[in-house]
Symmetry: C2
Subunit: 186 residues, 2 copies
DNA sequence: GTCTATAGATCGATAGAC
DNA sequence: GTCTATCGATCTATAGAC
C-alpha cells in the first residue's frame, strides 16, 4: 500500500471552496472528506471535530487575507493606484462570487446567533478589511472620515457580493469596487 | 384533547423570527413546531414539507414588504420626508438586526447554491426594494442615476446589517440608513 | 465499520364540531 | 357518522464521532 501523504494544508484548500458555496451546515464531514479524496475517519486525524475544522478554515482565510492586505497597504514602493489595483486582485481571490462569495460573511450570518466561537476570527477579518481601506483613504481624508468611508465601502462590497449571487450578475460587486476605486483615487 | 384551532398565519408569524435568527438549516421541524406550541406532526398538516414551509415564509415576508413599501412610495398625500420616515420604520420591522437581520439575505446566502427554488421570491424582494428607492430618487435624479444610487443603497444597507450582527453594534445599519436619507432628501 | 442522535417525514388514533 | 385539528409513535436516512 503506497502511503500518499495528504497534508492538512491540502485538505484545507480543498475544503474552503466547498464551505464557501455550500455553507457550514450544508457540508457534511463525509462530503468534505470525499471532496478531499480521503476517508471521513481520516478527517478526524486532522481535526478533532467539525467546529475545529471550521475554525481552522476561517483562520486560514483570515491569515491569508491579512498578510496580503497589509503587504499591499504598507508597501513603500507601490503607488496609490498600484495599491488599489493589487487590492482588487486580492478581493477577487477572496470573494469569488461565482463560487459562493465571502466565506466570512456567509459563516457569520449562518452561525453568529448559534455558535459565537467563530465570531473572533470573523470580526478580525472585517476589522482588518476596514482598517486597510482606511489606511489608503487617509492619504486624502482625515482619519474619522476615512474610517466612515472605509466602513461604507466594506458594506457596499459585501452587499454587492450578496446581490451578485442573488441575480447571478457580477455588476453589483463590480460597481461597488469601481466606487471604491473612484473614492480612493479621487 | 380539546380542539384548539391554530391558524397557519399564527404558525408562520412564530416561525419567521426563529428562521431569521437560526437560519433554515439550523432550524429543525421539531424546534419550529415546539416554538409554535404544537407537535411536529401537526406541522405537516399545514405544510407538505420543510421546503414548502420556507417558501411560504419567504412569500409572507415578501408580500408584507411589497404591500407596505409601495403604499408608501405611491402615496399621493405624503411628502418626500414623510415617505423616507415611513420607509425607515418599515425597514426597521423587516431588518431586525438584533433578531437575525434580513431573512431574505440570510436565506439567499444559505441556500442559493443548493436549492434554487427560493430564488424567485428572494429576487423579487430585492428588485422591489431597489425599485422603491429608485422611485423616491427619481424626484431628484434621472432614471439611470436613480437606479445606480438605489442599488448602492441596498448594498450599503445589507452590508450594514451584516456588520451590525458581526460587531453587535447598530451603528453600521444606522449609518447606512442615514446616508440613504441624506441622498434622497438632498 | 459502527455507534448514537436526530433529521425530515408518515401513520394511525382521538376528541370534539357539525 | 363524518369532518377537522391535533397528538404520539414510528420509520428511514444521515449526521457527527470514534
Amino acid at each position: 500500500m503506497p502511503k500518499i501523504k495528504t497534508s492538512k494544508e491540502e485538505v484545507l484548500s480543498k475544503v474552503i471552496p466547498m464551505l464557501r458555496t455550500r455553507g457550514v451546515q450544508n457540508s457534511s464531514m463525509s462530503e468534505l472528506a470525499k471532496a478531499c479524496g480521503i476517508q471521513k475517519s481520516h478527517f478526524y486525524y486532522y481535526f478533532n471535530n467539525k467546529e475545529e475544522l471550521i475554525k481552522e478554515v476561517l483562520s486560514t482565510v483570515y491569515s491569508y487575507f491579512k498578510y496580503n492586505l497589509f503587504k499591499i497597504i504598507d508597501s513603500a514602493s507601490l503607488s496609490l493606484p498600484e495599491k488599489v489595483e493589487k487590492m482588487k486582485l486580492l478581493m477577487g481571490k477572496i470573494f469569488k462570487a461565482s463560487d459562493g462569495g465571502c466565506i466570512m460573511a456567509n459563516t457569520a450570518l449562518e452561525t453568529i446567533h448559534l455558535n459565537p466561537s467563530y465570531g473572533k476570527e470573523i470580526q478580525s477579518f472585517f476589522t482588518d478589511f476596514i482598517k486597510g481601506l482606511q489606511g489608503l483613504l487617509e492619504q486624502k481624508y482625515d482619519s474619522d472620515e476615512a474610517l466612515m468611508l472605509a466602513e461604507q465601502m466594506v458594506q457596499d462590497i459585501e452587499g454587492g457580493i450578496l446581490l451578485t449571487q442573488v441575480y447571478n450578475d457580477l455588476k453589483y460587486i463590480n460597481n461597488a469596487v469601481s466606487r471604491m476605486e473612484k473614492i480612493i483615487l479621487n
